[in-house]
C-alpha cells in the first residue's frame, strides 16, 4: 500500500537518497517537498519504511540542519518548508520532554507522543481514503459520457428568459432614483393610455406614408365605439404628438377636412 518514494534527479544529476530521519539535504529539499504531502506524510514514511524512532532522534544536528533550510526556503516553497520546521520543533519538544524524569512528564497530560501518534494515524486513514477514491472508476478516465446527435431534420424550440412585471417596474424605479428626468412626470394610468395611443397613431401614419395618399383623415383616427373616453385619449395623443413634432396636422382648404401625416 505504501507508495515508494521516487528517487529523484536534481538539476539532472544528483540522485536523492531516501531520507533516514527528518533531515533533508538542503539541495534535496525541493524534491522531498514534492514527493511528500507534508511532514506527517514524511514521518509516516520514515516510521513505516525506515523504522524511524522518534526517541532516537539526535537533536543538535537537526537544529543545525534546519537552519540551513531557511536559506533554501528563501528560493522555494517557503510555506511548505515551514511546516517541516514546525514538525521538527514538535519532535524536539517531545524528545526533550521524554528526557526529563518520568514524574515531571506525568504531571503534564500523559505521554507527549500520544497527540502526534493520533495525528499520524488520522492522517494515514485519510491518505488511504484518498488512494481508494483514486481507484473508483470515474468519468473522463474510466467511463465516458455518451451522446447521440439530433436527427437531421431537428428544429430546436427556444424558450426565452422569463421576466416578471415587477422586475420591469423596479427597473424603472431604479432609473427614477438615479435621475431627475421624471421629476415632473408622475406616470399615471391616463398618460399611459395616451402614450399607447400615440404609438398606435404613429404606426397608422407610417403605414399610410407608404401609400400615395401619405396622410390619414383626422376623423379616421377616432373610433367612435370606444366611447367618449377613447375619443379623449386619442385627442390627447394627437395633441401630444403635434407638440413633440412627431406628426403634422394640415388643412388643404378652408373648412376642409383636417388631415394628419408624418412630417415631410
Amino acid at each position: 500500500m505504501q507508495q515508494v518514494l521516487p528517487l529523484a534527479l536534481i538539476r539532472g544529476e544528483v540522485i536523492v537518497e531516501k531520507p533516514h530521519d527528518l533531515f533533508i539535504p538542503p539541495e534535496a529539499l525541493e524534491v522531498i517537498l514534492e514527493s511528500f504531502e507534508g511532514p506527517l506524510d514524511l514521518l509516516l514514511y520514515l516510521i513505516r519504511k525506515q523504522k524511524f524512532d522518534i526517541l532516537d532522534m539526535p537533536i543538535a544536528p537537526i537544529a543545525t540542519q534546519y537552519m540551513k533550510y531557511i536559506e533554501v526556503m528563501k528560493e522555494i516553497k517557503m510555506e511548505l518548508a515551514a511546516e517541516y520546521l514546525v514538525m521538527a520543533a514538535i519532535l524536539m519538544e517531545i524528545k526533550s520532554r521524554l528526557l526529563l524524569p518520568k514524574q515531571a512528564v506525568e504531571e503534564e497530560d500523559g505521554d507527549p507522543r500520544a497527540e502526534l501518534v493520533r495525528r499520524l494515524q488520522e492522517y494515514e486513514v485519510i491518505k488511504n481514503a484518498a488512494q481508494q477514491l483514486d481507484q473508483i472508476p470515474r468519468l473522463e478516465r474510466d467511463v465516458f459520457q455518451v451522446h447521440a446527435e439530433l436527427a437531421e431534420d431537428f428544429q430546436s424550440a427556444v424558450f426565452q428568459t422569463d421576466v416578471e412585471l415587477h422586475e420591469l417596474v423596479s427597473a424603472l424605479q431604479g432609473i427614477l432614483k438615479r435621475t431627475k428626468a421624471f421629476e415632473h412626470h408622475h406616470i399615471q394610468k391616463e398618460s399611459l393610455s395616451t402614450r399607447e395611443r400615440m404609438a398606435l397613431i404613429l404606426e397608422k401614419l407610417k403605414r399610410a406614408a407608404t401609400t400615395t395618399v401619405a396622410f390619414v383623415e383626422f376623423s379616421e383616427l377616432f373610433t367612435v365605439n370606444e366611447g367618449r373616453q377613447g375619443v379623449v385619449v386619442t385627442f390627447l395623443a394627437i395633441l401630444e404628438l403635434i407638440k413633440e413634432s412627431l406628426i403634422e396636422c394640415v388643412q388643404t382648404q378652408v373648412f376642409g377636412q383636417l388631415r394628419v401625416r408624418l412630417p415631410q
Binding site: F144, Q145, V146, H147, A148, E149, L150, A151, E152, D153, F154, Q155, S156, A157, V158, F159, Q160, T161, V163, L165, H166, E167, L168, V169, A171, L172, Q173, G174, I175, L176, K177, R178, T179, K180, A181, F182, E183, H186, I187, Q188, K189, E190, L192, S193, R195, E196, M198, A199, L202, E203, L205, K206, E244, S245, L246, L262, P263
Partner: protein, 193 residues
C-alpha cells in the same frame, strides 16, 4: 477471433460511436480505435452493419453521413426532443441584464421614444444588442422616426409585450410613484422650504 473477443470488439465500436463528437469512418476506427487489434476493414464494416441492425428500432439509429457513421435520434421523436432540449437549456438561459430591463421599462412607460432619449434618461449608451434582443423578442417595434436631425427611430411596445405580461393595455402597467414618494424629492423640498 474468439466469441469473447468478438463481443468486446462490437462493444468497443459501439461505445466509440457514442463517445465521439463527430461521425467516424471505417478508416478512422481502424487507426484511432482498433490499432492494437487484428481486424480488417471488412470486419469493421460487418460490425457497423450489425450495429445498424441492432439499433433499427431504438430511439437512436446508427446512420451514415458524409464523413462516416454516427448515432442520431430518430425523426419521429424530433418534436418531443425539441421541447425537451429547450426545457433543459431554459435552465441555462441567462437572466436579462438590468440595462435591458430599464430600456424596456422606459419604452413601455415613455413610448414612443428614441434610443437617444433612452440614453439621456439612463445616462449611459444603450447597446445595439439590447435593442436587437427586444426587437427579436417582439416586445418592441419601430413605429416611426422622430423629425430631428438623423431621423432616429421611435420605439413602442407591441401587443406581444402586453400578452407576455398578461396586460390588456398599457394603462394596466403599475402606476409609478412620483419622485416625492421615493424619498428623493422630500429632502430637496424640505431644503427649499
Amino acid at each position: 477471433m474468439t466469441p469473447a473477443d468478438n463481443k468486446k470488439f462490437v462493444q468497443l465500436v459501439e461505445a466509440a460511436f457514442f463517445v465521439s463528437e463527430k461521425p467516424l469512418s471505417v478508416k478512422q476506427l481502424k487507426t484511432d480505435l482498433l490499432v492494437n487489434y487484428q481486424v480488417s476493414h471488412q470486419q469493421i464494416r460487418d460490425v457497423i452493419n450489425e450495429l445498424v441492425i441492432k439499433y433499427k428500432d431504438a430511439g437512436v439509429n446508427l446512420v451514415q453521413v458524409a464523413s462516416g457513421f454516427r448515432f442520431e435520434t430518430i425523426n419521429a421523436l424530433s418534436n418531443d426532443l425539441a421541447f425537451f432540449i429547450a426545457k433543459l437549456s431554459k435552465e441555462k438561459a441567462p437572466k436579462y441584464s438590468r440595462a435591458l430591463l430599464e430600456t424596456l421599462a422606459l419604452i413601455a412607460y415613455k413610448q414612443p421614444i428614441t434610443r437617444g432619449e433612452i440614453e439621456d434618461i439612463r445616462g449611459v449608451a444603450v447597446s445595439s444588442y439590447i435593442m436587437k434582443t427586444l426587437l427579436e423578442r417582439n416586445w418592441v417595434k419601430i413605429v416611426g422616426n422622430k423629425e430631428v436631425p438623423g431621423r432616429p427611430s421611435l420605439y413602442a411596445t407591441t401587443k406581444e409585450f402586453l400578452d407576455y405580461f398578461s396586460l390588456t393595455s398599457l394603462s394596466q402597467l403599475p402606476e409609478l410613484l412620483p419622485m416625492t414618494d421615493l424619498g428623493v424629492m422630500d429632502k430637496t423640498v424640505a431644503e427649499t422650504v
